[in-house]
Amino acid sequence: MLKRTPLFDKHLEAGGKMIDFAGWEMPINYGSQISEHKQVREHAGLFDVSHMTVVDISGEGTVDYLRTLLTNDIAKLDKPGMALYTAMLNEEGGVIDDLIVYSMSGFFRLVVNCATREKDLAWLNQQAASYDVEITERPELAILAVHGPEAIEKVCSLLTPEDAEVVMQLGNFKAAELGDRFIARTGYTGEKGLELIIPEQQAATLWDGLLAADVKPIGLGARDSLRLEAGMNLYGHDMDEETSPLAANMEQVITWTSEGRNFIGRDAVMKDKAKQIDGDLPYLTGLVLESRGVLREGQKVVTDTGEGVITSGGFSPTLGHSIALVRIPAGSKTCKVEMRGELVEARLVKPNFVRFGKKVFE
């Protein structure tokens, strides 16, 4: 039996084409992935991401615990209402998951991937043994993401004037607790927008309100093409437990220098750093195919220095051609992709294709 979010009936009402996504019955699209993708780039779209796992961490030992558990340093979150993108590594330096951590009033909130829920919870609990912390999963919360150039004003049109004022003022990666609602300026699309973590009983009303305000529902298909255009990694595809964060374009989530802190996996990643300096560590970068055809995950690539693989690929509706993330040997300058038995020339670019509706690579 597949799990359903509190918005399952709303997806059917909106014509959602439901699929099995990591054990959840979720909409892949509501008719056209490409129209939904463009809706987010040009106007505002609404995503149900209630399948993601919310975990609250509280107790005296929370800060010490999270500074050990996470690669990024939560000491940066020195007051409530801040967010940080980070990874959680195993002792070998492989990525257990990527996640966002929020500082709340009196506790911290983690939002982790749904496909990794069980192993993440097991790891969180295992590492908590020597800390005074309480780990509480919050399955009764729904998560709605609203993204696109019009997203923030659409959400604010449904809030009280006082709450709307607070949300309008939120900077990127900032958040606000408004009664029993938590609203954050975070997301996975490369557009401005909000993620709203709310009691499940409120989800349907908020959904209806946003649709009435002409925000359109967006399925997982467009969620994937939007994040790919934004050059954002997808766990289990662009990185996993066998991958060093340094081979997954994730160095920005590592805080190397902090007094008295040694996060799990640091020693292993230090060794990867040495390999990277010696030119022995593969790296994740962007690939563009301006001719016809679509780059797909798993396709082999051949560069001037060796072989690599496409970790995520697809058609970019904004650019009208295919883009991909590719892991290749250090120092590669040219790249050919094996497509349907032929080697096709593609172009290496920085792994960031579209931001705020516009092409961003050269």
Binding site: N29, S32, Q33, I34, S225, G293, V294, R296, F315, R340
Partner: protein, 123 residues
Amino acid sequence: MSTIKYTTSHEWIKLEDDGTASVGISENAQDLLGDIVFVELPDVGTEISAKQEVAVVESVKAASDIYSPVTGEVVAVNEVLLDAPETINASPEEDGWIFKIKISDESELDELMDAETYAEHIE
């Protein structure tokens, strides 16, 4: 009235009055593929056998080979699809035809499914 037949690989073939037939993918196939972003067409004049790969339809989800339902010669291709591949999503069994074929042996059509049998096949 023109006869329409379907293959197990989800192509349709429609016999026209002039002895040629048009070929495309079924409504069900376009629905499974999702938004179509590229179509690769055969060259006019190509001789093909039944069940031979003749075109490629690439969607947001996957690349799919299109197989010729019958043996014959490609006599026309739908060039509209090169710039507007989404025509297949909008009208898979009319405007979204992919190529036209001059059939060598009409008896090959007997091996294909009629609309009713195809509807049962995809259930």
